[in-house]
């Protein structure tokens, strides 16, 4: 049943991927985007798993993404998640909504052993899933990201804004994401040797309140900040990224569940 549905989702998503563009992964931080894109005509396959633990509730997501380099500075992608959320009362699971994404690196400054660049990105989460895990909305995210990579040190910054579509009488508050990250490579290796970069991120999420028929919902909105240690390990065209988001500051309105932690593991191949 699931495989039939997954096949249907892929057949819808693949043509859409050919016409839309984007990338949020590659040699970027674990929990936030950087300006890195894919080489022209390059293909990236991405498999990821995330967990968000809040009190007695757990949300797990496994996703598969494909990306294509339209030029040396422009990439397009599609992501298909499988989601599972569980709390004390119920478990919901199923193929989630497809996300199309694009990223364009509009500025790049290359120097000996270093690259500094900036990019804009766009993500569009479609209302493609009929499963319970779907938000039944089409949400648009716009973002800007800057990055500096050198043989020894990395630094990144990004800001993203997600326009959440209303669902019936519920007005879903928009979200602003603010991220900063640094990376350090303990040792510079040869081209064909394994490479490790240690990453430390600061991730902020600022949420607007939700409203029902124009009346604000008390237990919604607020902001949360996370410190996120992570690691990026690569071997030529294969990469593993892993990290944990630890909440360090929460100012959520009303009685909302606070995040205990979030974890992410991602595998990537360049073809």
């Amino acid at each position: 049943m699931i495989s039939k549905y997954l096949w249907k989702v892929i057949t819808i998503a693949f043509p859409a991927w050919l016409f839309l563009t984007g990338s949020v992964f590659a040699h970027d931080p674990v929990f936030s985007p950087g300006p890195h894109v894919l080489f022209k005509d390059g293909v990236e396959i991405h498999a990821g798993a995330t967990r968000d633990k809040q009190d007695n509730a757990t949300e797990d997501e496994q996703s598969l993404a494909f990306k294509y380099g339209l030029t040396g500075d422009w990439v397009a992608g599609v992501e298909i998640p499988y989601e599972r959320s569980k709390d004390e009362l119920a478990t919901q699971k199923g193929v989630g909504d497809i996300t199309l994404s694009t990223k364009y690196r509009f500025w790049r400054k290359d120097t000996m052993g270093a690259q500094e660049s900036a990019a804009v990105l766009l993500k569009l989460k479609l209302d493609s899933s009929g499963a319970e895990v779907s938000t039944d909305t089409t949400d648009l995210m716009l973002g800007f990201t800057y990055g500096y990579e050198s043989l020894k040190w990395y630094r990144w910054a990004s800001v993203r804004y997600r326009f959440n579509q209303d669902r019936g009488d519920l007005q879903r508050g928009d979200r602003l994401f603010v991220d900063m990250a640094i990376g350090y490579r303990p040792q510079v290796h040869d081209y064909r040797a394994p490479d490790t970069v240690l990453i430390l991120e600061l991730n902020g999420e600022i949420r607007e309140r939700n409203a029902l028929n124009g009346v604000d919902i008390g237990a919604s909105g607020g902001n949360q900040w996370f410190v996120s240690p992570g690691v990026l390990w690569t071997l030529r065209n294969f990469a593993v990224k892993a990290g944990v988001q630890i909440p360090v500051y929460s100012n959520l309105n009303g009685n909302q569940p606070r995040s205990d932690y979030r974890a992410s593991l991602e595998l990537e191949w360049y073809l």
Binding site: A26, H27, H36, V37, L38, F39, K40, D41, G42, G69, T71, G72, D73, R105, R108, D110, T111, M112, G113, A114, Q115, E149, S150, L151, R185, V188, H189, D190, Y191, R192, A193, D195, V197, T234, R236, N237, A239, Y270
Partner: protein, 100 residues
Amino acid sequence: MKKILMLVLAVSSLGWTTSAFSAEAHYKIRADGLACAYCAYGIEKKFMKIQGVTHFDIDLKKGLVLVTGDENLVLKEQQLKKLFNDAGFTFRKIEEVKIR
């Protein structure tokens, strides 16, 4: 003893034959932006599609791309500017290395 002598002669003549008749082209290319091997994989992918290229390597610390090919391999600046730009990096200069 005679057999060993014959074997040594055969091996050394084979070596002489190879070095006398196989010419390789070696290029040293300076490129900027090379900060990690994973990011630079696209350069390798593009070079290995060029007919005649037999070996590819990068010296990240020196910002050098090292390409070896057969005797017919000719790399031109204009071609390399496009190749590096499509891979997301900046070509600076090329030097043919003579190995004798």
